[in-house]
Symmetry: C2
Subunit: 373 residues, 2 copies
């Protein structure tokens, strides 16, 4: 029986109970709405985590790489949306999946791409908040692309992503982002339908907006909701109020390797190689450095932050102005770092060490992450 004391640090830990609770919460949040949940598997990149979402059966998923699509296809997943703008060079791998009976739906936002994907189901990306890609919900371009896709039998529908919701800091802003995402989606669907086109899928979602889809939000006309980060959550999500720190299911175990007491610093063997360089909370009202610090059983150490990182060194220090003394953490002490951004921190690891619940240090399983592209 191995425990979190036995493995060489640094390593990534997943708390299975918290994943299950996070998964149940979003399922319940969406239950009153007539929508399909199509989770984005890019955060965990783990077929085992997806099994927790779908109760062991394959379900509809969103992927960020063809490597994810292929790995999930190998596990029997047959309904996959590849939500990064498509280019012609990636089509052979998608056609190979099609030939295996996998429906891979691609994403695009130009006539040029629409012409290239003939015969492959495609969603048109619609911009709802100026975040990244997508065409306007009301301009001519949307209908033009829809027309091209329809001619080749490829039009699957539309997809929106309220990426700017990651910068919402009040429940009101989050709700406004959620309402806007659904409103713009319906407007875009109307644009296409008024052009005489079929729009079977109307896909929206992000972890912040999906959790803001309370029963008073109108999701009529929306067929599916996507979210990814919510399986693990992180300090950025806690900072915008989508979860609490107690919901975080991913952490990194590190070991104390030194002290610089005169500078108020404790050094660990977990640097940015273990946590990533993500500083997502730097732009939030409360900057959490590279992460919060907990004891190995998950108990948070008040005001202790991972304040700096080099490749294989983490620096821990107290939050500026803290009334606490620097805790006594001898060399060899194991700690857990709660990360800013679960997607980025998880990406630094090849596998997850799985525990059944927060304070249970027994290693229940090891789950591999899908690597590369």
């Amino acid at each position: 029986m191995r425990t979190l004391h036995d493995l060489d640090t640094p390593f990534a830990v997943v708390d299975r109970s918290r994943v299950l609770a996070n998964v149940a919460r979003l399922r319940e949040r969406l239950a009153p709405h007539n929508v399909v949940l199509r989770p984005h598997v890019k955060t965990a990149k783990s077929t085992e985590v997806a099994e927790l979402i779908f109760d062991g059966r394959p379900g509809p998923i969103t992927v960020s790489t063809l490597a994810e699509a292929e790995a999930f296809a190998d596990k029997g997943f047959r309904d996959i949306t590849y939500a990064v703008g498509i280019t012609a060079q990636k089509l052979p791998r998608i056609r190979a999946l099609q030939e295996r009976g996998v429906v891979v739906t691609v994403l695009l936002d130009s006539v040029e791409q629409a012409e290239a994907v003939a015969g492959i189901p495609a969603l048109i990306e619609v911009d709802c908040d100026g975040h990244r890609g997508g065409v306007s919900a009301t301009g001519d371009e949307l209908a033009q692309i829809g027309q091209v896709l329809t001619e080749s039998g490829s039009l699957a529908g539309i997809l929106l992503h309220a990426g700017e919701s990651y910068f919402a800091y009040t429940p009101q802003e989050l709700k406004a982002a959620a309402v806007n995402e659904a409103d713009v989606a319906r407007r875009a669907a109307t644009t296409l339908r008024q052009a005489g086109l079929d729009v079977p899928t109307v896909s929206i979602g992000s972890t912040p907006t999906a959790h803001a889809f309370t029963t008073d939000i109108d999701l009529s006309g929306i067929t599916e909701v996507r979210a990814g980060n919510y399986v693990f959550f992180d300090l950025v999500m806690a900072g915008i109020g989508v979860c609490t720190v107690d919901d975080l299911a991913l952490s990194v175990v590190v070991t104390v390797i030194g002290h610089q007491t005169s500078r108020g610093q404790i050094l660990t063997d977990g640097g940015w190689m273990a946590t990533s360089r993500d500083r997502g909370t730097a732009r939030q009202p409360i900057d959490q450095g590279y992460g919060l610090v907990a004891e190995l059983d998950g108990t948070l150490i008040p005001d202790l932050l991972m304040s700096d990182a080099s490749q294989e060194h983490g620096t821990l220090s107290l939050r500026p102005g803290s009334p606490y003394p620097l805790p006594n953490l001898p060399i060899g002490t194991r700690l857990r770092i709660l990360p800013n951004h679960a997607c980025a921190t998880a990406a630094q690891h090849r596998q997850y060490t799985v525990i059944s619940s927060q304070a249970d240090l027994v290693v229940e399983n090891v789950w591999e992450r899908i690597q590369g592209w």
Copy 2:
């Protein structure tokens, strides 16, 4: 014959000629000094890159993980310094390497660690600039640790790292950091010798200071110099004047997947998963965003930056105030991103696609990176 046009993007490219030139430059810089070069292999994590440094033979190296030590031991390397503070739990893997005839020298900066490593060669980390770990060169602690190590036959010497040299922005500051690193090292060696202890190894170095060791710098008493990043270099190093942008040997090939012309943006399939979240140039006089953008043959596109990143999306835009128009880069165009921080960008990839020189698009080789810890 495959070329950079044939592989699925994103992927990391190494320009072998530039690595060779970078390797030769540091070798020449250090040649007038009576020091051993002990490269840090943490940047490339590739035994093939190390072969370029050592002309195909094993040589003395520095590692940041035991996974690196083990992989290099498998390739015949027998003199390895593990330059992250040691803890007792990592000793079994080090003893296993010892039993294979590999000399693994560990690093520490406390009496407690010194007591734990009995029988394993150990360097005492000395602090030269308040950057991270290490004891004072002149305090009692250094001699106390040296005494404990000597009693168990473990004292190998001392090690310093001028980590703050990464924040030097003038040749004068770089030179001062280099002089200080050597001066403090000699002071620390004297402290130990005055306590009657042997100090065979006096190890200093960082990529910025190693390149500042011109012939007028006194390296007497220094036995070895370490540097890691210099095999690839990056925009942070170019920003502090240690190299030019034309020396960068690592880049990431990405594909244009969309345009937001009204916002002056071009979207690619290379997000932070391909470049890392490192924003090292953000604190430099010239902020390079997530990296500079070049054509596939390496020709820089004036003023075009990778200005933003999400997981699998890169946003390119012109540097603020640029007189140039947004270049015409159709969907499917392949580009190369020159990264802020080679160590972090390389860490996002499992392998390197190797080309012989800058404008030669033929894939000459694929080199695997050492993964994990």
